[in-house]
Amino acid sequence: MSAIVNLRVFRNFQQFVSIRPISNYPTSFRKNEEIQKVDGDDEFRSLDLSPNKSLNMRSYGRKVYKRAAVHPPRSNKMPTDQDWPSVWPVARSFHPASVPLPLHQGWVVPGATPPGKFANAELMKIPNFLHLTPPAIERQCQALKKFCTEWPKELNTNEKIENHFPITITTSDYLHSSPSLRDARARIVTLQLKLSSLKLDSHAKDKLLRLVKERYNPETDVLTIVSERCPLRKQNLDYAMYLLNVLISESWKTEPWENEKCEADMEKYVWEGSQSQRTVEQLLQRMPDREKAMPEVIEQYARNVTRFHNEGEDAEKISDYKESVKKLLGLQA
């Protein structure tokens, strides 16, 4: 009697076939894996209510499960005349299946072949320029062209540019690989201009050079003003322009005490207004026959005296000076 009851229970159990997959539900990792594999694409495990022998009957021995087919790399199917900038439009890490090149990278003992492009982490590390092929750059330039304005035709030489835009402003932008755009060095503004473009007279130029000191380069005639004391670039730029304005207006001013400058205060010998010039004039007045002394002779004398004072004394300059004096006085021998 008891045996029959047992059988009945078993039969009842057989009818609820849909219980089986649920009872198979992950008791171990391997079972879980098996269920997934049976379901094929294993997007979701489906609850199969219809009796299915392969699913519901307990099978002994290993099952062979098919994996989803892995497609061959698409670089195999790429035509040779494909449009590469659309295959690799922007910067990205190297991917071997997208690049139809037989690449190798890695150090090996001499004679062996370096590792290929598949499963090669070294190729993924180095920055690549596959998105910057010449056609891609050309296309980007074409796309950017409509945002550009034409260069003025009149400014076709460097001289004209320097003449119309004498001031050069130099600033630097710093790009970091960080989420912040800020860099303290970006505030520094350098203003440069040629002193000849200011059209200063000798007094103003002399005063300006005394004010700017080492900021003037006599070899290139360039005045450089670096402004970095303000926190923002705009403020520094304004400050540099302010400094330039102040410098120029100060150098054009003549203070009352500047007239007290005598020959001993001169930093270098100047012929005009010097004692020597006055003496020569007086001398020529007393020598009426030399009154019509050629101006070029006086000029040569002036040049030699100035050189003698400014550049130092040597045999050549002494003989030059001697010649000019002899010419001036009309001496023979």
Partner: protein, 178 residues
């Protein structure tokens, strides 16, 4: 050898000074000298280097096969950024973020990664590259990529891109056996 000699010299020196203190017991102030063991410094360098296994069957990737002193010679860095340049910014923050990214990605893609995690930074963009196994279903893979990118970009407050390469199994990345 020089280090060993200097160590010997140190220990004998200490020993002498101790004996002199003990012999002159009339000295009121006993200096607080303690015996210490001075030995030669162990100059062993172990990090990033792998020992040869008895059966010579330990699998190494290219990254593992080249010890750290070959960086920039045979292999390149796993983190690319501008912090180490002259006056580079945020060096400490970047390193900590890189450690965090590595931990998060290796945990999210548990047992899937077959290579080191490569972190390349361009401006405010973070590119994370790596090689994973092909076992995952496409939908799970897409989910994990989106999950990683979305969470990391939320935490780090900048765009994050995950650029993965898949291999059939881990053996594909093996460079040599030692």
């Amino acid at each position: 050898m020089a280090a060993i000699l200097s160590g010997l010299f140190y220990s004998s020196d200490v020993y002498l000074s101790l004996s002199s203190v003990q012999s002159t017991d009339k000295v009121a102030v006993v200096p607080q000298l303690r015996q210490f063991h001075a030995s030669a410094a162990c100059c062993k360098v172990q990090s990033g280097r792998y020992k040869i296994s008895p059966k010579r069957d330990k699998a190494l990737t290219y990254e593992m096969a080249n010890p750290p002193h070959f960086i920039a010679h045979r292999k390149s860095w796993n983190s690319w950024d501008t912090t180490s340049l002259l006056e580079g910014q945020r060096a400490a923050e970047t390193s900590v973020e890189d450690v965090f990214i590595r931990r998060f990605v290796s945990g999210t893609w548990h047992d899937q990664l077959c290579s080191e995690i490569i972190i390349k930074r361009q401006h405010n963009l973070i590119r994370i590259a790596g090689i994973i196994k092909q076992g995952l279903a496409a939908r799970k893979m897409y989910f994990l990529i989106g999950y990683t990118e979305e969470l990391l970009s939320n935490w780090l407050q900048c765009p994050v891109k995950l650029e993965l390469q898949t291999v059939e199994n881990k053996e594909a990345t093996v460079f040599k056996y030692i």
